[in-house]
Symmetry: C2
């Protein structure tokens, strides 16, 4: 069982998905290989990861490699990955960088009911035969399980004037 950490001001959900989640099942289709071996090394977000200037790679397992057919048409891809080390039961969180607690759905924290991370990254190279995709940067731990790869479509995915 994962440790049940919390900071002042944080609120636990009434049930812990770590123990009760049964609604649907995921399959891990590969992994993300990053330079970050421990949470303390890990950039907090993709901006920080890019600032460090160190690329990363995706390894897709053999059964899924034919699924890369045609992906060379896209300059950027979306990665969905499973943050396997994250707690799932903190619905209000107090990030160290913020003055006040926030709800999980207004944070990009790895701690969430379904700890799925989303990253839009630039493709550096693809080898369909070995299932290897080199990418410009990533902000997750080495060996993070991969759930999905999608082509990034600027027409729907890019909202330059989104406000916060």
């Amino acid at each position: 069982m994962k440790s049940q950490k919390s900071r002042p001001g944080e609120i636990f959900a009434p049930t812990d998905p770590e123990l009760t989640a049964r609604d649907a099942n995921l399959i891990f289709i590969g992994r993300i290989c990053s330079p970050w071996k421990q949470i303390s090394d890990c950039p907090k977000n993709l901006v920080q990861a890019r600032d460090r200037g160190i690329p990363a790679r995706v390894e897709l397992d053999p059964p899924w490699r034919q699924g890369l057919l045609g992906i060379e048409r896209f300059s950027h891809i979306i990665l969905l990955h499973w943050l396997h080390e994250a707690q799932r039961n903190l619905i209000v969180q107090s990030p160290s960088h913020a003055p006040e607690p926030s709800g999980v759905f207004s944070l990009r924290s790895p701690v969430r009911p379904n700890p799925i991370s989303f990253a839009a990254v630039r493709v550096l190279s693809i080898d369909q035969k070995t299932g290897r995709i080199d990418i410009d940067a990533i902000d997750c731990l080495d060996e993070t399980p991969l759930l999905d790869i999608k082509p990034y479509m600027a027409s729907t995915d890019s909202i330059p004037d989104a406000a916060n």
Copy 2:
């Protein structure tokens, strides 16, 4: 069991995640309410959905509503949802709109090993108490299970010059 449909040129994965996925478990935290009751009604993507000019809404279940704290700061949110009616075993697909088959990872098809959909949508209104979020448009079926809500961050999520 879901029907095992395929078109000419399509390739099945060697195993079907519908039967074998056991790597991690999801919890459904709410649902998306859309005007689209059947797959034949459903827009193919968010551009088509927006063209129809009909808004949609998200309903977050009671245990998770405190997680909306602070979300009013964001003009746009990311929705991750579970395409519960989608097959999971077609790794090469022949979309009706395309001249040639493509790998699943170069398509935004609902049919994928982990049928998680990603949509970046505009928030029209939020009621934290009832867990209701009105959004500008969506391209999924009514009653699609919700997995996550994230704030859209233009600094990392918007790539206007992404090519395809």
